[in-house]
Structure formats: C-alpha cells, structure tokens
C-alpha cells in the first residue's frame, strides 16, 4: 500500500519536473514570463488522450503531443514576441484562456466538462505500462532525458544568449543576435517538453478534463520556479520535490476534500510571496526576480 503510494508520488514528481524545468527555460533563463505554460501541458494531454482512445501507438501519441505543443509555442512567440514583461505575461495568460475555452467548449472533440475517461496506458515493445512500477521507470527515464536536454541547452553558448536576452534584449540585438529566432526556439522547446509532460499525465491519470488545465494550475508551477530560483535547473528539481511532498500531507490533515485544492493554492502562493520577499534568488537561483 505504502509502496504504491510512494510510486504514485514519484511519478507525479517526475511529470512535474518536466513541466517546471521547461517553464524555467522560458521564465528563468530567457526572461519570458510565460504564465500560459499550462496551455502546452493541456495540448499535450488532450492530443495523447484523443489519439490513444483511437488506439494509436504510444510513440505516435507521445510525438504528436510534443510536436503539437511545440508548434503552439512557436506560434505564440510569433504572435506576441514584441511584447515585454507584464504585457507578455498577460498575452500568454490569454493564450491559456483560449486553449482552456477550446477544451471546455469544443464538446464534440473533447466532451467539454465531462472530460475524456478511459485513456489506456501504453504498451511499448511488449512492456505493459498499466503496472505503476513500469510507468514509474518510464516517467523517470523521460524526466532524466528532458533534464539533460534542457541542461545542455542552458549550459551551451546558446544558453548564454538566453541569459543575455533576459537581462538586456537590446544589447543582444546590437551585438547582432536575432532574438526573435532565439526566443522562438526557446518557447517551442519549452512547449515541447510541457507537451511531453501533458502526454505522460494523460496516460497516468487515465482521465482528463479542462479543470486540470485552468488558471489555478499556473500557481503551483510558478511557485516551484520561484522557490527553486531563476535560471537554476537543480533548484527547480529540488523545489518540485520539496513542494509536492510538503503539500501532500494536506490530504490527511483536511477531511473535507472540496477545500484541499484551494488550501494548496493558498500555500503555494504564500510560499512564492515569502520567497520573493526574503530570498529573491530562491533556493539556488543566480538571479534576483
């Protein structure tokens, strides 16, 4: 019993690590305050749900989810790349609201608020991932792959340009850097990995509905990025683990399940505010907010 609960927690942590390090790539490294990151998670989850319910293979569902999210990231940057700071944040939030509305209102495709139940777990090369332990191995492998790729991007000269754009985009332009192209790659990559996280989430939970991808879901991932520290992948991984485990006991302390969700939001928001006030660099960040 405890073993399966631990496996469940590690799977959730693994999925969230992919989601938060991909957000860190755009927010912490590039300074693109993308509040709409959950939209890419949503696109990935719905793509996987719809395709896997039609019995398409894992590889196809997984790749289509990632690529669809990636294209959305590219398009989002194309539409709002001239906006900076708060304006960029608001525009990205609008993008999330748009995707959320589609998930909620395109009933013939998504079944709207009823959601999509019965998403089958994948079978890859004969290995049945309906076993949670197998799914844990899959999640950890994909999380590790995502971490290594994003680490390689951020520690390469390309990563230096990202930090340059975050700190002074005009200075980068004057040095001849095509910042539009760089930001396109960043948002597309960030969305690609969020799509992967969404795909894993849909496979794992077996059911998705729009409520998993609303504005309220933005708070936890932003809080994790803030607590971990800007431009720190290690910090993001640590804070994902700490915050998910910290919030988990609420399940046992609060007996009314309907208020667990709001209490979680409050705790995440409070933690983020406290960190911003007293430790603006977060746990391991190099840069202040």
């Amino acid at each position: 019993m405890i073993e399966s609960y631990i496996i469940h927690l590690v799977i959730i942590i693994g999925i969230y690590i992919i989601l938060t390090i991909s957000l860190q790539l755009s927010v912490g490294f590039t300074g693109l305050f993308n509040i709409g990151h959950i939209a890419f998670f949503c696109i990935g989850a719905y793509a996987t749900a719809l395709l896997s319910l039609d019995n398409y293979s894992f590889l196809l569902c997984f790749l289509v989810s990632a690529v669809l999210s990636m294209i959305s990231g590219f398009l989002l940057n194309f539409l709002i790349h001239k906006l900076k700071g708060d304006y960029f944040a608001i525009a990205s939030l609008s993008f999330l609201l748009l995707i959320y509305s589609i998930a909620l209102n395109w009933v013939s495709l998504t079944r709207g608020p009823l959601g999509l139940p019965g998403i089958p777990r994948p079978i890859i090369f004969g290995i049945d991932f309906s076993q949670n332990f197998n799914f844990l191995v899959l999640t950890i492998s994909i999380s590790l792959f995502s971490y290594l790729i994003i680490k390689k991007i951020t520690s390469s000269p390309f990563g230096r340009v990202l930090e340059g754009i975050r700190d002074d985009e005009l200075a980068m332009k004057v040095l001849g850097k095509d910042t539009f192209r760089v930001k396109s790659y960043v948002l597309a990559t960030s969305a690609f990995f969020a799509g992967i996280a969404g795909s894993l989430y849909a496979y794992y939970i077996n059911f998705i509905d729009p409520s998993s991808f609303g504005i309220s879901q933005v708070i936890p991932i932003l809080a994790i990025v803030i607590v971990g520290g800007l431009a720190s992948l290690e910090g993001t991984v640590m804070s994902t683990i700490i915050l998910i485990l910290l919030i988990e006991p609420l399940r046992y302390l609060i007996f009314n399940p309907s208020i667990i969700g709001p209490v979680r939001q409050i705790i995440y928001a409070l933690l983020a505010i406290l960190i911003l006030f007293y430790k603006p660099k977060g746990l391991y960040g190099r840069v202040e907010w």
Binding site: G159, D168, G176, D178
Partner: protein, 244 residues
C-alpha cells in the same frame, strides 16, 4: 574643410527625428570615410546619441536615408545593422551583470551561439579558442584575473573597459562609441586612450561622441559639431575647438 580621402563607408543623408515638437535630429547629413576617426561633439541635447540610435535602427527615422557600404540601412533592425558591420558602445553601460566578464565578451565574437541545433549537439570548441584571446587582451589592459568575475562585481571604470572590448570584438567595419570616457578615472581613461590609439594605427573607422578636447585633439582626424539636431560645422579638431 576639404573632405578626407578614403572610400565612403557611412553616409547620413538629411536624417530627421522629431519627438513631438522636439526636433532631436533635424536634417543631418555627413559622410564618414574608411580609416578615419571622427569626433561628434556638441552640447547636451544636441542629438548626438539619438543620431547613433538612428544609425543602429534602435529608433526609427522620420525622414532621410542612412547608407552603409553603399547599402540603405535606414530603419533596419539593430541586429541586421550590427551584422552588416556597425558596432556600438552605448553611453550607459549595458553589460550583462549576471554573467562573467568572459561570458559577456564571448557574446560578441560571432552569432554561432544563436544556432540552436549546433549548440545542442556540439561541445563549445570555439569558446576555448576565444577565451584565450580574451585572457590575453584583458592582461594587456591590466585587468587580468577578472575574466571569471561577475560583471556586477566590477567597478564602473572596469565595466566601461570590458564593454569597450566587447564592442571591439563584435565583428565590424565601423565603431560607434558613445562617450567612451564618461565617468571613468584617469587610469582607465589612459587605458581607453591606448586602445583608441591602437585602433587608429590599425586603420579602423571610428565615429565617437566626446566632450573632452584633450582626447579629441589627440585621436580624431576631424570633428563634426552638432547643435539643436543640426550639423553646424565640420573641420579639423584644432580649428573647431579653438572656436568652441
């Protein structure tokens, strides 16, 4: 004044920029020839920095044309102007405080660092070569041992030097330097002078904004005097500064 010899590199033709009723640049025209060092002088608010921003495409011109190497660069985005060979030192330091000195300078070498796939699958060989060059140059300027320091930990003068080095390493045919000596102590001022003399010997083309006559007389081949957004005189340094 007789025009200096050499090929025309930069030509500003009747450029205008108004901010509401303020005529920041009001019909400026001049040519900069290859291998010459020109000082742009004038009182505060004369439109000198605005002119630099117009050349780089940081702000858009209202009228007029800017030609660089006979190509129309009017209102091109800054990255395109930079890649054609115009390198700018801003008036206010614009180094990246969260990066080290080396990382800041490395950004200037080329644009290979913006190639996503190349960076994803390669092992930064270019960096190692460039780092050696940076180390040597910092040593020559007597600010060695600071290449791994964060820029935010440097003094103002050191930042100015590092930014000047970054501007020089940015591949260019002309350097636009906006008050390179502003706010630095005499030691750093000498270092910057040394750099400019060296660049002059190498035959570089430089257009710089400066107020200090001592610096201008030693370095500049000619002076362009601006006031209220217009070019009011153009001559050899000694002649203009005597009248100024």
């Amino acid at each position: 004044m007789e025009e200096l010899s050499g090929n025309k590199l930069l030509e500003v033709k009747n450029v205008k920029k108004y901010f509401g009723k303020v005529k920041a640049v009001d019909g400026c025209s001049f040519k900069i020839r290859e291998g010459t060092i020109t000082a742009l002088v004038g009182p505060n608010g004369a439109g000198k920095s605005t002119l630099f921003n117009l050349i780089l495409g940081i702000i858009k011109t209202d009228e007029g044309k800017i030609l660089f190497k006979k190509r129309d660069i009017t209102n091109l985005p800054p990255e395109k102007v930079s890649n054609l060979g115009v390198s700018l030192l801003f008036q206010q330091p614009r180094l990246l405080n969260n990066l080290t000195v080396s990382e800041n300078i490395l950004l200037a070498f080329n644009n290979e660092d913006t190639k996503f796939w190349k960076n994803l699958f390669s092992f930064n060989k270019d960096d190692r070569e460039n780092l050696k060059t940076i180390k040597t140059n910092l040593k020559l300027l007597r600010i060695d041992n600071c290449e791994n320091k964060l820029v935010r930990d440097l003094s103002y003068g050191q930042k100015r030097l590092v930014e000047l080095i970054r501007t020089i390493f940015d591949p260019h045919d002309i350097l636009l330097l906006d008050e390179p000596f502003m706010g630095v102590n005499p030691v750093i001022k000498n270092s910057i002078k040394e750099i400019l003399f060296k660049l002059k010997k190498q035959g570089e083309t430089i257009l710089f904004i400066e107020h200090d006559p001592d610096v201008i007389i030693g370095i500049a081949d000619e002076i362009i005097l601006m006031n209220e957004g217009r070019i009011v005189n153009r001559a050899e340094p000694e002649r203009i500064l005597l009248d100024f």
